[in-house]
Amino acid sequence: MFRYTKGVLAREVVMLLAALVFVLPVYVLVNLSLRPAGDVSSPLLPVTSPTLGNYVAAWEQAGLAGALLNSTIVTSVSVVLIVVISSMAAYPLARITSRLSSTLFWLVLAGMLIPFQVALIPLYQTMRDVGLLGSLWALVIFYAGAQVPFSIFLYTGFLRTIPKEYEEAAAIDGAGSLRTFRSVIFPLLRPVTGTVVILNAITVWNDFLVPLLYLSGTPQQTVTVALYAFVGQYVSNWPIVFAGLVISIMPVLVVYFLLQRRIISGFAGGLKG
């Protein structure tokens, strides 16, 4: 399709060198996690006799099985909830032009500017009072509320590009509003739902501060908090720590490499609105 010119070749080489800066740390991460105890060679040299012992140790001692399960539950429940409530809310907010509707819309968008730290501490108190502290539900409720503004923003932007004829036709056929939403609007929203799912799933899975606060001191932990506690115990034993880190990012990386095109365009497109 194209021929190499000198300039393009030079650019290719420079970019490959840049890629090395991105790949090298990950190489060190995996390399070190395979290193047997007592091996003190440079972390840059490939391990001579790789072992999976660190993985076994990390799996057992960091409680990663439970943490992975908790993270999966929190992420999937939160994302489903966010998708349902945000798409439903976006429908009237995008369609109705009354003053009440646009006021509500701007109130919700204001939430994108508020740093969540202000709300985090008083909400901690409320969660404690209603007995949700230390429960995964505290996280789900927080994420559902905190991620609503951004998700509604994405949904309304997309809804405004969908012609109203579809829902009008459904109404003429006698479908109620809930029915119209479920069988006409929501399926049309699929592309943006993909973006909402990706961005929220990554945010929730990777979050550290909120589970650190709301789950601390309880047996319930998410992956990030489990790692934090685990590293605290094994600070000097980097191979075991690194095995734990590799295990914890595996699910994210597998999904990323499977869906990379979709994920990257989700990140790039989600913010064009």
């Binding site: 650019r11 290719e12 490959l16 890629a19 800066v21 991105f22 740390p25 990950v26 060190v28 440079s42 972390p43 840059l44 909830l81 349902v84 409530i85 439903m88 809310a89 009237p92 109705i96 032009t97 009354s98 939430g111 740093p115 730290q117 202000v118 709300a119 985090l120 501490i121 008083p122 108190q125 409720i141 559902a144 509320g145 609503v148 503004p149 109203k164 009008e168 003429i172 109620g176 509003s177 809930l178 939403f181 899975w205 990777n206 550290f208 501060l209 990030t224 790692l227 720590v241 690194f242 880190l245 914890s248 990012i249 994210v252 990386l253 990379q260 990140f267 790039a268 497109g269 064009k272």
Partner: protein
């Protein structure tokens, strides 16, 4: 549900039978206002998790509450006065600004270079795009631990420097106040540059190639073409990127907390880490929330300023 929604219209008049409002003869029908109920669940979660606690937080910032005892006293602006008169919090405020500025400039600079490098011509484009973006999805805690190890005195960074003959650049990266701050910025840029790159790539793709070709025909060199054609047309991408990095830079918590814990000697403490420590380790909820409000204000001021500035540029 259906019985509820059915009782409203019928009484008004027989000719408009079912769904009459939606089928008014003129123009596209406005959906019924009753539809606003659809927003209720989202508003309920948003109100519970964000709005109410934000206002309560605002109020608690004017008290001396420790987070544990049942009572607290109203102390007016004492917490805020303390923020602006204590060396440690002023340093944290300064560091927050420095970090946000450095990250905004570097992350977008690196992102732009990567995007321009990948944009056309090279064969490895698609693979490299996936590589450069990968750190964005990796858990920040993991990234921070990975780099914490790499930056230890006999870690991989010093090892790599020595291997390529730059042993003179060896540092005690996280042990020295200045280098610790530099390290935090480097790690954040490493993790998020791919994000800026992707947004710039989308911007580059929207520029019609004819424009650059025409400029080339007119004798403009590569730099001139970038400066006068490409860069102005990337204004939207730049606005989005700057907004994202400013907000992200101000709110950054995990990287600092895990990498340096605010140290050495408070050299990398930011408003985010200080407010966490105040509220949850030093039992000074009121003061912690006051810090959070100051952070909120800083973020709001900078985002609005940036928004207006870029709008003005777009107009001129």
């Amino acid at each position: 549900m259906t019985s509820l929604t059915d009782d409203r219209p019928p009484v008004t008049g027989p000719p408009r039978a079912s769904g009459g409002r939606r089928r008014t003869p003129r123009g596209p029908a406005a959906p019924s206002r009753r539809l606003l109920w659809f927003a209720l669940p989202a508003l309920a979660f948003y109100g519970f998790a964000v709005v109410v606690p934000t206002f309560r937080g605002g109020a608690l910032a004017f008290t001396d509450w420790d987070g544990l005892s049942p009572g607290y006293a109203f102390v007016g602006f004492d917490n805020f006065a303390r923020i602006f008169s204590t060396a440690s919090s002023l340093e944290a405020l300064t560091m927050t600004l420095v970090f946000a500025l450095a990250i905004t400039v570097l992350q977008n600079g690196v992102g732009l270079l990567l995007a321009v490098g990948l944009h056309t011509g090279i064969k490895t484009r698609n693979v490299l795009r996936v590589v450069f973006f990968a750190p964005v999805v990796i858990t920040p805690v993991v990234v921070a631990y990975l780099w914490k190890f790499m930056l230890t005195p006999d870690g991989a960074v010093n090892g790599a420097l020595e291997a390529v003959g730059l042993g003179a650049l060896r540092q005690s990266w996280l042990g020295d106040p200045t280098w610790a701050a530099v390290s935090v910025v480097m790690v954040v840029v490493w993790q998020h540059a791919g994000y800026s790159m992707v947004i710039y790539l989308a911007g580059l793709q929207s520029i019609p190639p004819e424009l650059n070709e025409a400029a080339a025909v007119d004798g403009a060199g590569a730099w001139r073409r970038f400066r006068s054609v490409t860069w102005p047309l990337l204004a939207t991408a730049t606005t989005i990127n700057v907004m994202l990095t400013i907000i992200g830079g101000f709110k950054m918590f995990t990287e600092v907390y895990v990498l340096t814990g605010g140290g050495p000697g408070g050299a990398t403490e930011t408003l985010s880490t200080l407010l966490y420590k105040s509220a949850f380790q030093f039992d000074e909820f009121g003061y912690g929330i006051a810090l959070a409000l100051v952070l909120a204000l800083v973020v709001a001021v900078f985002s609005i300023a940036q928004y207006r500035l870029s709008n003005r540029k777009a107009v001129s």
